[in-house]
């Protein structure tokens, strides 16, 4: 199924350049596993990277040092194993999981929806945070069907990938595979679709304002 909502090209470029925080990169990757369109965009951005790297004017490294490194490399060519042609290495096959999470989430949330350790955050809202490097926040949310989230804007960027269920906001309908790539100017109030809970993985490119910040906004709406 092709997602209806894709990554912002500026986000694609930052991802390919290695310029996204780990939290944002994980959500991008979760989207890429199900989106041929955005994967092709990333490959284009990597090509741009290749051209840029080649285009650089390298410093004049000392000739002596250069020769030394060169000699070391020639020596290593003899010593290093050489690999046969192969397709990309698929991740190690595991016991078939009827309920797998996208592979990019495994190091952060485990392998399966079934083993997620949800923590109650507010009525109808459960959350799991995962520690990441850098200043961002990475978390999964499970929101009960038909629930209205607080109207909120974003100090910085927010990236949300829908894994299950769906929600609607001013930007449209977001179902499984869709990503909402929002910057600081967008105010939105997601309302989850009726039926099944909406499960998302999300990243905030902002420092340490979750869950306090989020919870404060959430509370008035859920009547606490």
């Amino acid at each position: 199924m092709t997602p209806a909502h894709h990554l912002d090209p500026a986000t694609v470029m930052a991802y390919a350049a290695g310029a996204l925080s780990e939290a944002m990169a994980v959500v991008v990757a979760a989207h890429l596993t199900g989106c041929d369109h955005c994967r092709a965009q990333v490959r284009d951005a990597e090509r741009i990277g290749g051209v840029l790297v080649e285009q650089q004017q390298p410093d004049e490294v000392g000739a002596g040092r250069r020769e030394q490194l060169r000699a070391e490399m020639i020596e290593r060519l003899d010593q290093s194993p050489v690999f046969p042609a192969q397709a990309a290495q698929a991740p190690a096959p595991t016991v078939s999981d009827p309920d797998p999470l996208p592979a990019p989430l495994h190091p952060y949330f485990g392998r399966s929806f079934g083993t997620l350790k949800w923590r109650w955050m507010a009525p109808g809202v459960h959350c799991i945070r995962s520690p990441v490097a850098g200043g961002g926040q990475l978390f999964m949310l499970r929101i009960a069907p038909g629930k209205s989230m607080p109207l909120h804007g974003h100090g910085r960027s927010e990236l949300t990938q829908v894994l299950r269920g769906a929600y609607n906001d001013v930007l449209g309908h977001f179902g499984p595979g869709d990503v909402a790539d929002l910057d600081s100017e967008v105010m939105h109030q997601p309302v989850t679709a009726v039926g099944s809970p909406c499960i998302c993985v999300a990243a905030l490119d902002a420092p340490l304002r979750f869950p306090g910040w989020f919870a404060r906004r959430l509370q008035p709406l859920v009547g606490l």
Partner: protein, 209 residues
Amino acid sequence: MKPESTGGTYSPFEAIRIVSTSKLPANDGHDWSTEMVAVAQRRDRASFMRIYDHFMPRVCLYLRGMGSTAAIAEELAQETLLRLWQRAASYDPSLSRVSTWLFRIARNLHIDKVRKESGWMLVQDALEAEEADHDGRAASSAEAYVEHTRIKACIDRLPATQARLVRMSYFEAKSHHEIAQELGMPLGTVKSSLRRAFLKLQADVRGAA
């Protein structure tokens, strides 16, 4: 951690011009793919060392910009080139340029070894496997036929600000937010400038036939 400045005493805009005007002999037209095929098929050392001599200092400079010390950049650049040698048999000239391959290897090594992001390599492997499954590479196969000089010309034609933002992304791994702060620009402007730059460059890397 502050990446080392690569701009020297030049203003950012002068630096762009300098970087984009190679003073080296005309290597732009060099067919690195053919050298690479020789490595893949015959383990041709002379071809490999020509690739090495051209790319090693560039990869090294790239890694220093990303924030590695000179010693670590050297080590990772050597490792990058060695992987090219080791994995040469998997190289398919119709799928990617040598420079794209090296860029990916160097970037991945940096994120894995220097930034120590635990999931990055796993994700890259998973994405490659996904592409192999879905034939997602079909859309990429035009790459080898696009003239390097044409892409380079397109980069040179970018407005100075867009070129500056592209460089800060690729050569300093600065996030949109960091760029906005450093240049005193609104975040939205940073993103829209990068968006425009990407769409222009993409049209050229895809070699719109």
